[in-house]
Amino acid sequence: MQQMNTVIGAIENCRFCLMCRHVAPVGHITHNESVTPHGIALVAAMQRRGQLTWDTSTLSVLYAEPDGGNCRAHCVTDQPLPAAIAAIRAEVADKGLAPPEVVRAHDRIVENHSVFGSYEPANEQGEWGLFVGDAGFNLSRETMHAALQLLEACGLDVVPVGCGLDSGFIPCSLGYPKTARAQASLCIEEVQRTSIKKLLVLSPQDLFAFRQMYRERLDITWPEEIVIIDLVDFLAGQVPNFKMIPLAGTADNATAYVDPTHAVRLPGRFDAARTLCEVALGYTPLELFWRQDRAHPVGSTAIQFTRPDIGVRLTEARLEDAVNRGAQSIVCDDPATLHELRLRNKSNLRVQGLYETLLARLARHS
């Protein structure tokens, strides 16, 4: 009931509100009013009033929302529209109306606990853990390895957990909250089973899930005794202890930092990520137009399953932003964002992992 009140409240408030249009990524790349937050909320509101039914046309609007958080991050009255849309998708899925691609993605999670590959439960024990997640394990494993080596260089003995495990974000966003709860329980169980008390999180998507989504959308409380730490924040705090290999030759000063998908939901990490970039690159990175609190997501959210056409365009638009700013390479910390950028990159732009770049310059940890 509470969830449904949230849904109704958000769509009623957002259906005629245009105040987040300037940061709405899908509206920006499609130029289509219908797939802006206002358009999606209006279609949902009219469906509830019986003026529209869920059919190919209306479902293509409902599934166009990327769940990247931009609308809410810029909403003065904090309307939880992405959560409302996820709840409406759940109603649609319950009626058996979800698009086949969505159903297939959900089935993979039910079967493997992973949408991208396989899940390998952790067996080690330790105080510190690194939640690797699905994308970090199955799509961009070099990022995971670099992160673990950096942590080792910091003198930490870290247990990798959640290797290949979806945190619940994707099924929740697709409209399957029961599956999302099951995934969430699995995440918490694994962390507790491994005795971890300090959990570093590799992916902003999983960080958002643990810190906010579980509570707001799934009614799950994260265990108080386990502290969640953004890996970027942690490593930025370690910078004074890093000793770097001097750069060979002159830096090209042409690398841009891509704030990853969901970055707008975690504003505290903007500065930390840039601190790491400066250390890794030897200079202040170029800033993209779509940066920090207005950073647009790439197609690494559930949009890759709900509207893959839009997902591809979102990623292409980030790459175009970098090219337009004169970047020769881009750097990012998030495995899922990196994977998307690499997959869609058709230019000469180099796509670098931030942790990999940092590791390559690290001489030793003092």
Partner: protein, 479 residues
């Protein structure tokens, strides 16, 4: 009334040939979303479970040439064409009241040039206002047009209804900032206005397109005047016991050319309701925010002189914090549920006139609306926010918190309130609008507004758009 059969498919096919099939939509969801802009009436209509007239096509051209070709198709088939920017207009200016083609300009969002010497930006008309501002900010510049709709409106939408922004008192209305435009005429002819607006090489015809709201053509590109981002913005708030004194203080600040970038004066009712709700200050009287910007020393001196005037009227200086709070939260008034929202009935009957008439007009309109709709417990609030050397705009609003549930009854009540308010405005020397435009909402008042001059505008319309395809039903044409 749905348009079906062979002919609509012919049109769709021709439109697709021009812009590509991906940029033409006849999709149900799209047609419903584009059936309403920010006008209360169609929103209420939808809210009550009714469906307003939907467009037949939504078309997204990428340049003026494509628009030209679209207009030629529309002329051939005699189909209405409604230019669409951000859809944030409150007057129904973008409503497809006779169906037809919605011409969504948002694909045309390129910045063509930022000239840092002349301080101008040339951009396509579909660019989002805030995104344009971010781009010029990166050069240390600003487009000094800060309307509440900046997050959603487009550059073309700034110009077509002659919009005004929060800092217009110093920097002017959108129309004062435009140097040059590219326009596609209703017959498809593409023209550029002269390179600068101030000259003596013939009549000022480019202004015809400002305020025409797409009835004379489609603005596709504009060169706008920029300014340097100010070194400082000095804001403070003062409280007057009495609205009359506050207006007079504002007049003196303006006529002595002290150059404030903002004077925002809330009437006592607005001070007690909106200022309290959004900013949290419980005050009795007329709340005024005053701002000076630019060079620090000059701004400080201007502020000092303005405060001398204000002190002469016995106003209470509330200090910087309440002024800065207003500046930082000035758009918060427009986010639901803080904004006025359905199922309430509301409307902004903003108007402008000279200083000698403004106070009389405000009280006449207030009395007419409050007394005329007492049984509906109508609330009438206002603020004076765009000041000129010769007069001021008053942003008056009415609110009925328990309007009729029945949609048709609600329409009738809504229009009666507007008739009452606009009659008071016209009888007291005001303009039916200062910056939201005319649209559908005020169309029926245009003949009265212009009197003997109206036939000239009609003749111009007939000459430019003989088939009447451009945004029919708006700006008085057809009434």
């Amino acid at each position: 009334m749905e348009w079906t059969g062979l002919q609509p498919e012919m049109v769709r096919s021709e439109l697709s040939e021009i812009v590509g099939d991906a940029h033409v939509s006849t999709d149900d969801a799209d047609r419903l979303v584009y059936a309403t802009d920010w006008f209360w009436l169609p929103q209420m209509w939808l809210d009550r479970g009714e469906t307003p007239r939907k467009p037949d096509y939504i078309v997204r051209p990428k340049n003026a040439e494509e628009i030209s070709a679209i207009l030629q198709v529309a002329n051939a088939y005699r189909i209405p064409v409604i230019p669409w920017g951000g859809g944030s207009g409150s007057q129904g200016g973008a409503l497809p009241v006779f169906g037809g083609i919605i011409l969504d300009t948002k694909r045309m969002n390129r910045i063509i040039e930022i000239d840092e010497k002349s301080l101008t930006v040339t951009a396509e008309a579909g660019i989002n206002g805030k995104q344009l501002e971010w781009a010029v900010n990166e050069k240390g510049l600003m487009l000094p047009h800060y309307p509440a709709s900046a997050n959603c409106a487009t550059l073309g939408g700034y110009l077509a209804p002659r919009g005004t922004g929060t800092i217009s008192t110093k920097y002017g209305k959108a129309e004062d900032l435009v140097l040059r435009m590219q326009v596609v005429l209703p017959d498809g002819h593409i023209l550029r206005t002269p390179i600068v607006p101030q000259h003596a090489a013939g009549p000022d015809f480019y202004r015809l397109f400002l305020g025409s709201e797409g009835t004379f053509g489609v603005i596709t590109e504009a060169t706008m005047q920029l300014d340097y981002l100010p070194d400082c913005r000095l804001l403070r708030a003062v409280l007057f016991d009495d609205l009359t004194n506050a207006i007079e203080a504002g007049r003196q600040i303006m006529t002595r050319r002290l150059d404030p970038f903002v004077i925002r004066l809330y009437d006592p009712r607005s001070t007690a309701s909106r200022v309290k709700k959004i900013l949290g200050y419980e005050l009795e009287g007329a709340y005024m925010v005053l701002g000076f910007d630019g060079d620090k020393e000059i701004a400080a001196l201007q502020e000092e002189k303005a405060m001398d005037i204000i002190n002469g009227f016995g106003a209470r200086d509330l200090g910087r914090e309440p002024g800065e709070a207003w500046w930082n939260h000035r758009y918060d008034f427009y986010y639901p549920p803080q904004s006025l929202k359905l199922p309430w009935m509301y409307g902004t009957t903003e108007t402008v006139t000279t200083y000698d008439k403004i106070e009389k007009l405000y009280f006449a309109e207030k009395k007419a609306v409050e007394e005329g709709f007492k049984e509906w417990d109508i609330d009438f609030i206002g603020h004076f926010s765009h000041w000129f050397h010769w007069g001021v705009m008053v942003y008056t609003r009415f609110i009925i918190r328990n309007p009729p549930d029945d949609a048709k009854e609600a329409v009738r009540l809504h229009n009666r309130v507007w008739n009452t308010a606009m009659t008071a405005v016209l009888e007291n020397g005001g303009m039916v609008n200062e910056h939201h435009g005319v649209g559908l909402k005020l169309s029926r008042f245009m003949r009265r507004q212009y009197g003997d001059a109206w036939p000239l505008l009609e003749r111009i319309k007939k000459t430019l758009d003989p088939n009447g395809i451009m945004n029919p039903g708006k700006v008085g044409f057809g009434h």
